[in-house]
Amino acid sequence: MSATTLAERRGALGICVYCWGAIACLLAVVWASFAYLALDVSRLFTRESAGYMLDFIARFFPPDLSAAFLRRIAQGTLETLAISAVGTLLAALAGLLLALPASGRLGPVFKAVTRFALNFLRSVPELVWAALMVLAAGLGPFAGTLALALHTSGVLGRLFAESLENAPPEPARALVESGAAPALAFVYATLPLITPQLIAYSLYRWEMNIRMATVLGFVGAGGLGQMLYYELSLLHEPQACTVIIAMLALVVVVDAVSAWVRRRQMRPAG
């Protein structure tokens, strides 16, 4: 068998030595993680813990479907939608305002400063903003709205700034050179070019924010999340189950609607 080269033998193994090394490293990291957390997964699969889990799950059924509670659910859902819509709208306005300096229209200093601010707004997660806003504005949906607005304006500001940078400058220049004020030239020549993009980005973030708004209530920022947290704290499992079903339904409906809208947009007009 002297004819077989090393490469051929490696090929026969089906996978390279380097890959085996990587897999070994990966397994070591995973094992170390379980060891560090002192998690004993096998304990989860004993008969005792299975019985305990079944008991725990059984307490959630049947969900509370009484008319009075369903009305509260509807109200919570509406509140969640309102938080996400107002939050996204505020973010779109703030994002546009911040995008002007961030796209470099007011000089490099403003550009660097606003870019840093946008990055900061974006890197702090919504839930942390919500916990802070509950301190600043008190418990309730307003805190959730502000939290979504802060995080999302970081995201949208950056996207909007990129749109502004990529917008063709000729129409605005034509207006300025024929004597229009720069602000008017911006409103009538640059903004209409990028409006479809701005709307598309904002709708996309709104979709994500609806999902986020359902859980911001865990820190007291209103909506379905606050109801879930409240009912679970009182050990009202059937009510909690209804809230969870409502959250799941909301997510599924939003997914379906957004997929439908996207399919319609992709279809060529006419």
């Binding site: 509140e79 942390v128 820190v219």
Partner: protein, 278 residues
């Protein structure tokens, strides 16, 4: 030119449409603002201002006391371990579900056979299960699991395993369907079992994409495991929640800085691994 015509030419030709849209927007928006309890004046309420002002005032300087830094470091490692262990369990959960869901390994698809209806029913059930797993946000799972397993990282790890198991399962099946499925089909047609067809027909072509997506989800799980601490599931979030409840601004700003560094680190690791895979 008569003054009248100048007046005319300076008018926005689109004014009526714009005004109508603006009015419609206000009519829709007004009830939303009411429901969201939009009251900016609350921000300037003296009591809120005092709490927030005092809290923010403590942000500088951040608390760099050795004892607290040690605590934060342990929480950071715990967060990373939670994400890693969670994603490992999620991949274990997702692999069989993804295989069951994927049409590329369907024997009944090759031709009419007795197993068709059963296979489709199994796929529909799997799809529904995956939807429920990933449709409920991870933090809701964490909140529920904290009640079942008590405070601490175990609930967080399982919450990641469940949610990301649902996401990975769906994407695994899509990856297996989008690649070159002919080798697997040939194997199935010549009589091999589904698992063998997967290992020899599908895996070699799609392993890199599967691994790359899993690493990307690990990066998301790092962010998620920080957040989940807010409902008591361990890690950096739990520490931040405690510091916030005690209104200890110095500690919160330290944790925020660590959090931002951790996200950058996870980004860099995941980017490097995925580049190495490509």
């Amino acid at each position: 030119m008569p003054p009248d015509a100048t007046q005319q030419s300076l008018r926005d030709p689109d004014a009526l449409a714009r005004a109508t849209w603006a009015l419609a927007a206000v009519v829709v928006l007004w009830p939303l603002l009411l429901v969201a309890e939009f009251r900016p004046a609350d921000l300037f309420d003296t009591r809120n201002l005092k709490v927030m002002g005092g809290f923010l005032g403590q942000f500088f300087p951040p608390n760099l006391n050795g004892e607290f830094l040690g605590l934060a470091l342990r929480a950071t490692v715990e967060t990373l371990a939670m994400a890693t262990a969670g994603i490992a369990l999620a991949a274990l959960l997702a692999a069989p579900l993804g295989l069951a869901l994927s049409h590329s390994l369907s024997i009944s698809r090759i031709g009419p056979g007795p197993g068709r209806a059963r296979g489709e029913a199994l796929r529909a059930l799997t799809r529904l299960l995956l939807l429920a797993l990933r449709g409920i946000p991870e933090i809701v799972w964490a909140l529920l699991l904290v009640r079942a397993f008590g405070l601490g990282p175990a609930a967080g790890v399982l919450a990641i395993a469940v949610t990301y198991g649902g996401m990975l399962g769906k994407v695994y099946s899509e990856i297996l369907e989008s690649g070159d499925t002919r080798p697997a089909r040939v194997l199935l047609e010549s009589g091999s079992g589904r698992l063998m067809a997967f290992f020899y027909g599908l895996l070699p072509g799609s392993a890199q994409e599967l691994a790359s997506y899993t690493v990307y989800r690990w990066e998301c799980a790092v962010r998620a495991s920080v957040i989940m601490g807010f409902v008591g599931a361990g890690g950096l979030g739990q520490l931040m929640d405690q510091s916030m409840k005690m209104l200890n601004g110095g500690e919160v700003s330290t944790i925020l800085i660590i959090f931002l560094l951790l996200v950058l680190l996870a980004d860099a690791i995941s980017g490097a691994v995925r580049r190495a895979l490509a």
